[in-house]
Symmetry: C2
Subunit: 192 residues, 2 copies
DNA sequence: CGTGGAAGTCAACAGGTGTTGACCGCACGG
DNA sequence: CCGTGCGGTCAACACCTGTTGACTTCCACG
């Protein structure tokens, strides 16, 4: 196994490419991001990007890989789950480009959309399943939670609707906390 | 005024271009939609698109112009406002590409995002302002309503999260009705 | 030293893009 | 009957894209 071998000289370059790629994908989405622009940001030749990552699609896959780090919501007092989730995601959005990468790219790139579905299935669904025994209902609630957070992120970071941009962190937490809570504690009451 | 003049022979072509453009923009977003593809769909020469609409950006502006047709929500009994809104938007999404045009394009095209902000200000905000006297709070509530609907649309039509796709119309109405209602009847209770 | 392989550069490719201007043909008013 | 103008076609432009392969430079090790 060579995974613990001495760090190669190229690791720094690799990381620089990945940083530049994340910024570009977050700002411009998949289609408008060019390999040449990423290379220029990282101060290297476009050919290096291909050498290290193989193709634009694989570069994107590497740049879009991230962890939502959803906190365990099982132990919290029930009236703090919603505001805790809201606060967590607001912080996560502000200090990382990863979610904007996904939102801006998934709109036009099927691989990015597939990636989003995977993150949803592997990270959001299990977290909600800890609260809801019925797996089918858990999947539905997880989807509603995702819709809440994605709607907020779209309005605040992508569309930049003025009222949403103007709201501060604590105001958003105060407004979304109860909303998320009522989603999580709701059960289907309709037909079937 | 020549607006009532005999219909020109070119009007049909113009409409064909617009139809093809809306489909392409809805399916692929702004960047990946090419003038050549639109022209091929409309069975005409790419140069005609330029002749009629001037540029790709102006073609987009023409294709993205639409009306949400938000129903008057003042007269409804308070417990039907939410489900009424949910039902209206689900129907609107299913029978028109316009909203997908906006969602897919605004992610990477600033003009499209500006267009979305205008539609929000001209159509969503006034509708909510009929229920909420304080204009600042009305803007905030309108933004939250928009976030609800955009989150749902993103998950169902763009990201295609399986649980959201699987839900039927009446299930979505049943789940989103109360949610929208609690948004509309909420007031800010936090700091300030 | 010198040699082998990794790291990085350069120039070019094949294809696609928005956009332009010169050209053609047909209907219609004189 | 002509010719004028509108609807439409064609070919080309300048540019940008992802990707490739041959080339040079540099460093570490024998």
């Amino acid at each position: 196994m060579t995974s613990a071998s001495r760090p190669r000289r190229s690791d720094a370059t690799r990381a620089a490419i990945l940083n530049a790629a994340r910024e570009r994908f977050a700002a411009d989405g998949y289609d408008r991001t060019t390999i040449r622009a990423v290379a220029a940001d990282a101060r290297i030749d476009p050919a290096m990007v291909m050498r290290y990552f193989g193709s634009k699609q694989q570069l994107f896959a590497a740049a879009a890989d991230f962890d939502l780090r959803i906190p365990a919501i099982t132990g919290l007092p029930p009236d703090q789950v919603g505001s805790g989730l809201a606060a967590h995601f607001l912080d996560r959005w502000e200090d990382s480009d990863s979610l904007q990468v996904m939102l801006r790219s998934a709109a036009t790139n099927e691989a990015a959309a597939e990636h989003a579905r995977r993150i949803f299935a592997e990270q959001v669904t299990p977290a909600v399943a800890a609260l809801e025994p019925d797996p089918e209902e858990a999947a539905a609630l997880a989807a509603l939670v995702a819709a809440q957070l994605i709607g907020l992120a779209m309005c605040r970071y992508v569309l930049r609707l003025p009222p949403v941009v103007a709201m501060g962190r604590e105001e958003l937490v105060a407004r979304y906390g109860p909303l998320l809570e009522s989603v999580l504690t709701s059960r289907r009451t309709g037909t079937r």
